[in-house]
Amino acid sequence: MTDAVIKCDSVYKIFGANAKKMLQEANGNVDAKTFQKMGCIVGVNNASFEVAKGEMLVVMGLSGSGKSTLLRCISRLTDATDGKIYIEGQDLLSLNNKELIELRRNKMGMVFQSFALLPHKTVLENIAFPLQIKGMETEDSIKKAVDMVKLVGLEGRENYFPRELSGGQQQRVGIARSLAVEPDIWFLDEPFSALDPLIRKEMQDEFLRLQEKLQKTIMFITHDFDEALKLADRIAIMKDGVIEQLDTPAKIVLNPATEYVKKFTEEVPREKVLKIEDVMEKPNNENLGDLKVSKDEIIENVAEKILTQEKSVTVTGEKNKIVGTVQPSKIIHTVFGGRRNNS
């Protein structure tokens, strides 16, 4: 793919005194356990993937699996121990300090897991900060910041200090700050985990709306599978620094590549992931009813309609062409049959 905005090529990040040497000796076969015995912690282990323009890649994994570290490598907040990273075709690791700063000022935005707001600046000043660093006039930057405050719904708190805000409010400031420079590439490290469910849903919707409009290239870390499903174009699942599987949500749920991914996705409600096309059969006219559904519908949204039918349902593709059929029993099977320990 030539239009990959982010491209990683066997990236390693290993913490420890003589990480480089150990990595060379291991010859690419890094095992977290043996490394740990030698006093090294494996953060990222042989990550290779691409993110296309306008795509949203969601990274998931247990705590300590190296998600944040991966993001840090790609934004070069830490230098990867080994491997190549390309941003829009440019070799990230070969950039000098000045070019890196330029890149960050104009192309990248990041939302931090622990907010990382500047404690001595007000909401407004925090949001205007990257703009002022770029060299924008104070007045203009503040104007822009006021717009951003509106966008994240913090009107009336412009002059509060971070310590006077709740966690969720602080995170919204963080989001606004990272968006102020209108970056092309946007890194978000668990941006919504501090928000209450209502606001979170609101922010997710807002986020999707924004993304539709702005078409940024996004890497998004979350612990919440529902959130991942709602937002992701593709999902990467990490364990001990290794990317176990990177695929579309449906494929991950239907064909888990490893035992770990399978366990990880077990509890996921399939009807929320799978589309009609994932469960339909070849078109045949046996026992066909009147109802027609699009193949792109998520099962959850149409399940009720289909289950009230006695007969099979027609699945349509583009331009209303018939591409297959679905039997209600198949829907029941998908929704309830796939889970093992269902009480």
Binding site: S75, K98, E102, R104, A116, L118, H120, P130, I133
Partner: protein
């Protein structure tokens, strides 16, 4: 056996104490031993032993080695002195261009450097002084005396006090608001009306040079140490020693290098004020969360922006404490530096104390304290200042402070001009109230002191005698009765039990240095005075702190009181005690107690306050009474922090004991004071200071190691 396993530490301590006392009782006091006589000095006395090292002859009274170690380091002060002298007068002679005489002159490098620094400092001080008080030296510095005598207008008249007062009030208003503005105005008016204007402005000019310079140097060195591990490693031991070194002790070597006068005072002040600034800067920068730094980087900061816009402001809290310390040190040095000829309030204070004119001393002390508080509050307000982006300000609103100041300038000039007609003969009170023409309450205070003396003399005397005879003398005798070896064993043993081999070595080394210096006896006296002060201070501080902490308002009140007391220059504490107890050891000890109680109280409150609220609730739910909760939960958790307070208390107490030499004690401080008037006292002063610093460092090391272990044990930090 069971017990031994359960409390291994307890038995280690017991064992140590048994050994210590066994040593104490088995080593007798030598017949010839008499306190005060163990010094290495150049008095010929047939009883003295001598040794020669590096060509210096050191004389001392020899005792049994177990009783007092011979002063094997006695050559050190002499050697330091010789080295200083050599550096200053002989090392690296070079040719320097002299502007005044228009010819090359040969001078040793170090001398030239110190002279240049001296000239620079003098210029800065004169410059500010002349803005405030008038004068011509600054103009002369840029032109010549001829220029000034030709053009009469070049003689700066200085600002009338009305303008300075208005300026201070307006600046305070701009920084903080009405409250501070009123305070600033009142302080200035007080100073003027009481006839302290000139010395106050002299002190102020000294501080306006010393404080910003110390701040700038401290901050940059702190940043440098933050960026480079190597610099930090090199600086750290020096900083620790400097922080515990009594301010007196720095005076002596600095006097040798820079002579006497305001400039030397500024340099010494900087030497004393920079270390805490560096340490606090470093501490603050280290505590900046890594994600904030990353956020700064992701915003595209270059290194400079990262430092100035992210790191330093985020570390602001600690840096501000540093500023506060700098100001504190500057004011307390403003008094102490009067010993080497700094002009201003400190000089007056010292003079008044010397003449036992308590009233005058009180006025000068009050002035100095008020200015200190004012500057402290102003610097705080400046750092906390916020901008308002939404104000759609009119021209007037935007520039109202400048306009007001311009108005004040105009009115002030007109007033003082008018004053020159109105107060025909004598003094123009609108321009400056001269020193002896202001209102003075000195008589009142002096009468008060006399009255107190007349009325309560019997009681005070009785108390004094009782304290000295029943408590202090025996305590002192006990301290002096310790054989050197026993003391060393005790120190090393404590180090080992608390912190293992490493601590034992460090602490033992420090103690050994003192033991091998010629001043072991003096050090014991210093320690005894400090110990007495620390015990009482800690008791008071703990009680008061705990009581105040029970209530939100009293907590706040007490912390504010601590803040204000801390801003008082240390010398000021001697005034009221001399007022009550005259020139005795009791006075010094009471000053020590008052001064050292501040950190004890503060840290107790802070420690108790840092106990997580969740624990309170959990304890309350399980039905313990308030008292039980205090004893069983809050104290154990707050204890490590409180121990840090004890640490500070020790340092404060030592400082005050040394300053107390002014009243006349017979400890290390007295020798430092003597070294001041000794031509070859540089080395002595320095080594004496190091001895005091080492006493503090021994306790510092033990307490800190213990606190760290304890904190780890409790899982905080």
């Amino acid at each position: 056996m069971e017990l031994l396993k359960k409390y291994p530490k307890l038995f280690q301590w017991l064992f140590l104490l048994i050994v210590f006392f066994a040593l104490c009782f088995s080593i007798d006091v030598p017949e010839t031993y008499k306190f005060i006589r163990g010094q290495a000095e150049f008095i010929k006395d047939p009883n003295q032993s001598t040794y020669t090292l590096f060509g210096t002859e050191v004389r001392y009274y020899a005792f049994d080695v177990l009783w007092r170690l011979p002063p094997l380091l006695g050559w050190l002060p002499i050697w330091v002195n010789d080295t200083l002298f050599f550096l200053l007068n002989e090392w690296m002679p070079m040719e320097f261009w002299n502007e005044a005489t228009r010819e090359y002159k040969t001078r040793p490098l170090v001398l030239q450097i110190t002279r240049n620094i001296t000239a620079f400092m003098t210029f800065l001080i004169e410059f500010i002084r002349e803005i405030l008080l008038g004068g011509v030296e600054t103009v002369v510095a840029f032109t010549s005396w001829d220029f000034v005598s030709t053009y009469r207008w070049a003689k700066l008249p200085g600002l009338p006090w009305t303008i300075v007062a208005a300026g201070a009030a307006i600046l305070s208003y701009k920084l903080s608001g009405k409250g501070l503005a009123i305070f600033a105005g009142l302080v200035m008016i007080y100073i003027s009306v009481f006839g302290q204007w000139k010395p106050s402005m002299q002190t102020l000019s000294f501080i306006l040079v010393a404080a910003p310079l110390s701040f700038a140097f401290g901050l940059s060195l702190g940043i440098w140490a933050y960026k480079s591990k190597r610099v930090e490693k090199a600086l750290y031991p020096i900083l620790l020693t400097m922080q515990t070194m009594p301010q007196y002790a720095v005076l002596v070597p600095a006097m040798v290098l820079f002579g006497i006068g305001d400039h030397a005072a500024v340099i010494i002040t900087m030497v004393v004020a920079i270390p805490p600034m560096i340490l606090l800067t470093l501490l603050g920068l280290r505590a900046v969360p890594p994600e904030v730094i990353e956020a700064g980087k992701m915003s595209g900061c270059n290194n400079f922006q990262l430092m100035t816009k992210v790191l330093v402001p985020t570390a602001r809290r600690d840096i501000l404490i540093g500023v506060n310390q700098v100001i504190m040190v500057c004011f307390s040095m403003a008094v102490i530096a009067a010993f080497i000829g700094a002009k201003g309030l400190g000089w007056n204070l010292l003079l008044a104390l010397n003449q036992l004119n308590i009233g005058l001393a009180l006025e000068a002390g009050l002035c100095i304290s008020l200015i200190a508080i004012l500057l402290d509050k102003m610097s705080l307000a400046w750092a906390n200042k916020q901008e308002d982006y939404f104000g759609n300000l009119t021209f007037f609103q935007r520039y109202k402070n400048s306009l007001f100041f311009a108005g004040a300038l105009l009115i002030g000039i007109i007033l003082s001009y008018a004053g020159s007609f109105y107060f025909k003969e004598g003094y123009n009170y609108f321009f400056e109230v001269p020193h002896n023409k202001g209102i003075s309450t000195a008589d009142f205070w002096n009468k008060g002191v006399d009255w107190i003396f007349d009325t309560f003399f019997v009681y005070i005397k009785a108390f004094n005698t009782w304290l000295i005879v029943e408590v202090l003398q025996p305590m002192r005798a006990l301290y002096l009765r310790m054989p050197a070896v026993a003391t060393l064993v005790l120190v090393v043993g404590a180090g080992y039990i608390i912190g293992g081999i490493r601590s034992a070595l460090v602490v033992g080394g420090l103690a050994l240095f003192i033991a091998l210096s010629p001043w072991w006896d003096r050090a014991l006296v210093t320690t005894y005075m400090a110990t007495f002060g620390v015990i009482i201070s800690c008791t008071i501080g703990l009680t008061v702190g705990t009581l105040c902490q029970q209530n939100k308002y009293t907590t706040k009140f007490m912390l504010a009181v601590c803040d204000i007391f801390q801003t008082f220059p240390s010398f000021v504490y001697l005034i009221p005690v001399m007022m009550l107890f005259g020139v005795t050891d009791t006075s010094v000890l009471i000053a020590v107690i008052v001064y050292a109680t501040i950190p004890a109280t503060r840290y107790t409150i802070e420690g108790l306050r840092s106990v997580p609220a969740g624990l309170h609730d959990a304890a309350s739910m399980s039905g313990v009474t308030k008292f039980q909760r205090l004893i069983n939960i809050e104290f154990p958790i707050a204890f490590p922090h409180m121990m840090l307070g004890v640490n500070q208390t020790i340092v404060f107490a030592l400082f005050m004991v040394i300053i107390g030499a002014f009243i006349g004690t017979e400890d290390l401080g007295q020798y430092i004071l003597k070294a001041l008037s000794d031509k070859a006292g540089g080395g002595k002063g320095l080594i004496l200071g190091i001895c005091v610093a080492f006493i503090a460092l021994i306790f510092d090391n033990l307490i800190r190691t213990w606190v760290q272990k304890r904190k780890k044990h409790l899982g905080i930090d």
